[in-house]
Every structure is written in structure tokens, then in C-alpha cells.
Symmetry: C2
Subunit: 158 residues, 2 copies
Amino acid sequence: MKVERLKINYRTLEEFKKFHEHGLEELSMYEDLRANLVEDSSSSPFYGVYEDGKLVARMSLYPIDARFDRYFSPPRDHFELWKLEVLPGYKGRGFGRALVQYGQSLGEPIKTNVRYGAQDFFTKLGFEPVKYDPNRDRGENPYVWIPATEDQSYEPTR
Amino acid sequence: MKVERLKINYRTLEEFKKFHEHGLEELSMYEDLRANLVEDSSSSPFYGVYEDGKLVARMSLYPIDARFDRYFSPPRDHFELWKLEVLPGYKGRGFGRALVQYGQSLGEPIKTNVRYGAQDFFTKLGFEPVKYDPNRDRGENPYVWIPATEDQSYEPTR
């Protein structure tokens, strides 16, 4: 199972249409391509797994600069993980886990918003719920992961 | 159909358990109640509709101070709408619409993150998609609504 960083091009965007979480972000990517605002081969925040030439799982990882960090103390560079999704018919085969573990291999902490039903999946991968802050979280379910080898002074704010 | 602001108490939190989007926020409310950090009758960000004594629909509205506004230009106080949800068996009867319209009656603009499949619901209520900004939106689908009677200089950033 090979996780790869997805290039922004028409072929990738066609594959994205099969995914449930398809919205303004993908529309905006189409517009950027049409307006030649991006190179066909630009890298994107998306990572995915192909099987037999078909994109069957994807996630996005947005690098967050420490200046905008609201989850770690002291503030630090990290990734926000969104849009983790495995196509129907491909679930239960480890595609989602492979994607998250790939993100974890990049060496930075990760924050994600865990959907109902996915808590166990993320806690098995070492994520922990943060202490809920109504002003910051506004209904989200933030979970964070920090690399195990790190200095213990980097504790999530909880 | 009467929309009411929900009080934070054990009864309300028990009703919340029937809803799909149930997570850290609700757990935190329980903890606050147990620790006597809130009055039983405290008001909450939640609004809901009861039928025959049962909570059948809810949403949350978080007041955002203009200082933290990232969606309107010039920045202004507004609401973020989250967790709009109607229980199975009660869909298609206008509960969701009544909740959003109640929010619109409060006189401030509203920003929400529209889920896949709910675009038509929100555009019929006057919401419009914003121009997607990858650094701000990170995979969200932000839609905004501004009161129709307002000075036209308050345009959403798009």
C-alpha cells in the first residue's frame, strides 16, 4: 500500500468527485487550473492511495505555522488533518490507517477534528482528545497527536 | 413550531445523546455541571425544537466577536452556526429551516460550514458560498448569510 502526495491536475480532480467531502475547496482548485494559476503538477495538501489506477482513499494535511497554533503549548508548527475518507467497498482494509501513519511519519504533531464514530480509530493511532474550549473549539472534537520521541515538555494544551 | 434556547442541565444533555454530532463539547458540559461550574439554568449556544416533550432538532450558534472575524469585510460581530441536526423520523418537516430562520431573526450575519448535500438547503435560505481561501478554510465549505436590510457596504469577503 503506497501513500503518495497527490498532484493538482484535472485527473486528480476527477477522482476527487467520487468522495463525499467534495466542496468549495475542489471547485476552487478547478478554477485555479482553468485560470492557469497553478502548474498541472503543483503539489497539493492531499495525500492518497491508488489501487489498480483508481484513487480509493485520501486525506488532506494543512501545515499550520506556530504563529497560528491554538492547540499546543508552547505554540509550534504542526499539521491539521482533514478529509480523511476511504471509498465505499475499500473500507476495513487499512487504507485510512496507512494515510494517518504516513502523516505521522512527517515528524510534526497533528491536530484533527474527530467525527462521531471515529474516536477509537484515532485513539488507537495515539491521538488524544484535548480539553474542550468553547471559545476555540465551537462544536469541534479536536484530537491531537505528538511524536512519541519528543521532549516531554511539548505537551498538548489540555 | 417553537424554537427555544436550550438550558444546560442534565435533562438537556440526556436529550443530546440521541444526536449524531455528540462529542467533546457535550462531555465538557457534563463535567461543568458535575463540578458545579455552571448553574443548572445556564443558557447555552444550543437552540432546539421540542415535540411532545422530546428534543427533535437542534443547532448551536456561537457569537463571534468582530476582532476574531475572518469572513466579513469590514470585520463584524456574527454567529457561527454548527451542529444543525434533525433526528431521524423528523426530517422533511421544516425543523431545520425553522432553526436557521430563528438564527437569522437575531439580526447578525451567520457563517456556517456546509456539509455535502446541504448546499441547496442553505442557498434557499439566502446563504452564499465564500471565495475559498486555502489558508483560512482548510477543507471547510464556508457559506455566509447577511441580513437583507443591511447597508450594501457590508459585503462578505468573496
